[in-house]
Symmetry: C2
Subunit: 383 residues, 2 copies
């Protein structure tokens, strides 16, 4: 029986807002996108890549949103997207994306089979760092009568996946090219830790070093008769460097579209705390208790924001220090007791990617009014 006043309870349908609602009425905690800032960020990345004549392949692992990725392609001129997981890529292929790179290794046979099925519908690229992986990829590609494009991944400083030398990358590239069902697509060389180095010069130096390895691999492959269609890497912290190398031709940045407190802390050439991108992502929270003198308790805890890169910051109210965060609560120092119960605050999350993955909806606002809602389409897709 559905009661005449259809409620969330009866419908089992839960959205934090509706279009037209004021930002201050959004049910919290909610993940909000400031559309003006987001659109600016997409334009800035488009312009950066255009000015260096490199392609932009937007990293969808950050937002996991079909709507955000569509905007990055349509307005930001992205050539396609990156994902990190097969189940994530499935969401985007189902939504009509036709050029998807898994910027990661896929080694499990069941997942390789799913990857090959995706290649019936879209151009699918995947990274490889081990000869032992080629046979399984080849078999699945042939079983499903598809071509999987494979990149040799080089570890240029991340200390994670990837072969460790340019020589290994050359050998691996040749092996990919010789494997039925696979097409050698080029080199993946992402430097993770460089993204978050605070000093501009340190980030620049880290990428300069990475480029030497990548260049050596390209030359070696060329000597063996193989060209690299794609030489990919770069993130929000270093994209300007890779784009200017003349070696990398695809930039895989993700966080630039939303930004977070961690990327907000890195410095530009003049030592200012900026990367030229604006904060577009916030966790909207409400004050829920002010009975503790000098502090306020808010309703956005660990289940609404990831703390791996530190506590969030209160946007536009720099005097408010975030003290701690529990599962469902955030404590803010408020020495002058200025905060009122039910007041909304925008929090800049420490790290955007895992924060987005906690939510089902992006509430998109412009000038203080909800314009639309976008689902976090691939939330939880980590297989």
């Amino acid at each position: 029986m559905i009661a005449p006043d259809l409620t969330t309870l009866e419908l089992g349908f839960d959205v934090p807002a509706f279009p037209g609602m004021a930002e201050s009425d959004i049910l919290t905690p909610a993940l909000i996108i400031d559309l003006d800032a987001f659109e600016d960020n997409v334009e800035r990345m488009r312009s950066l890549c255009a000015s260096h004549s490199v392609r932009h392949r937007a990293h969808a692992k950050m937002h996991r949103s079909v709507d955000v990725a569509k905007y990055q392609i349509e307005k930001g001129n992205a050539v396609g997207i990156c994902c990190q997981k097969v189940s994530e890529a499935e969401v985007f292929v189902r939504a009509g994306f036709t050029d998807v790179m898994i910027s990661n290794e896929v080694t499990d046979p069941a997942r390789i089979d799913r990857l090959a099925k995706l290649a019936r519908r879209a151009r699918i690229l995947v990274c490889v760092d081990d000869f032992a992986n080629l046979d399984a990829l080849s078999r699945s590609a042939q079983n499903h009568d598809v071509i999987i494009e494979a990149l040799a991944e080089i570890d240029v400083g991340t200390g994670r996946c990837g072969v460790k030398t340019s020589c290994n990358a050359i050998d691996l590239g040749c092996a990919i090219a010789a494997t039925p069902g696979l097409h050698f697509a080029g080199i993946q060389a992402y430097h993770g830790p460089a993204q978050h180095l605070i000093k501009y010069a340190e980030r620049h130096a880290a990428i300069a070093l990475a480029v030497e390895t990548v260049k050596a691999a390209c030359l070696g492959l060329q000597a063996r008769g193989l060209s690299c269609d794609i030489i990919a890497g770069a993130g929000t912290g270093t994209a300007q460097f890779e784009a200017a190398t003349g070696v990398y031709n695809e930039v895989q940045a993700g966080s630039y579209a939303f930004m977070d407190a961690s990327y907000g802390a890195i410095e530009d050439e003049d030592g200012r705390s900026s990367t030229n991108f604006r904060h577009a992502l916030f966790v909207l929270t409400s004050v829920m208790s002010v009975v503790g003198a000098g502090r306020a308790v808010c309703d956005a805890g660990l289940k609404s924001q990831s703390l791996d890169s530190g506590l969030p910051k209160v946007w536009g109210q720099e005097t408010l220090d975030v003290l701690s965060c529990n599962d469902e609560h955030l404590m803010i120092a408020d020495p002058d007791n200025t905060l009122k119960c039910n007041q909304r605050l925008r929090l800049i999350p420490g790290h955007c990617d895992p924060t987005c993955n906690l939510h089902d909806w992006y509430v998109c606002v412009r000038n203080g009014v909800v314009e639309t809602l976008w689902p976090v389409s691939a939330r939880g897709k980590s297989i």
Copy 2:
């Protein structure tokens, strides 16, 4: 067009396992419950509460699972459940639960309205720490023609919500009792930080101190003619102490059912690392790259486990040190290169609550075989 071989891609339906599957075939990363250990834990909490003649109200914020909570009520003799959020409670009321406490304040008018609607279907209890909250609760209760049961919350050490003295609690209790639409149900006094104190004696002392405040509040309320049906608090780290006080009559523990690395580190009376509960929750991960000498890369990152209480531990393989964790990767030291690609490892998450909230499914295993799947029914419900 649906291809004849219905796949995850076509169906858009994504489960990590099916009943009957071997644990080693589960698609990873996946959240698994060792059913034998889980059932043991529920029995141990039942026995602890029974031996002290206190009630157990299982904290469902930890697992957010209708199936887990049903088991805690049916086999663990829990009298009902706790939630922290209204949207979480809605899931359980929809599923038929009839005695639900929000062990938290609800101050936002829209949420108070939803809370009152829930009280048409179930006994609903909520915590209050501010006189200013009573009017809104009262109006919604009367609008929906329901009684909301309210507890006066005292901050006995958490430093979060709750009035700060027993005198305040007495005044607040009297105000609740005098408010139309509300029923004064008792006292909420949970000591969060005490749960994780490593030393048994320190946890014991923290609760002994909390009990004095609670006792003073109860006596004061009694002198004003008010009795406390519920005197509630306690978590996995201290439940044995509150249960033995003769003051608390409801234990709200949650993590005991699954356990995590953080609770695994606290010591019992003899200095052993144990709380008498077994590790029942694991993040199952696969090794996905072994090309870096001395280390293996696994496929469970930040989006599959919360790091707020530290890195996970590898279960049953104490020589394997977890080094670091990125969004989709976990790095493990493997100096002797013993790990093989695609090998499964069980990880004990640092903190169970926010880890469970990252997943859609619990894969329930017994003796290495998948027995059933349980949805994480209230995942993401944080409003």
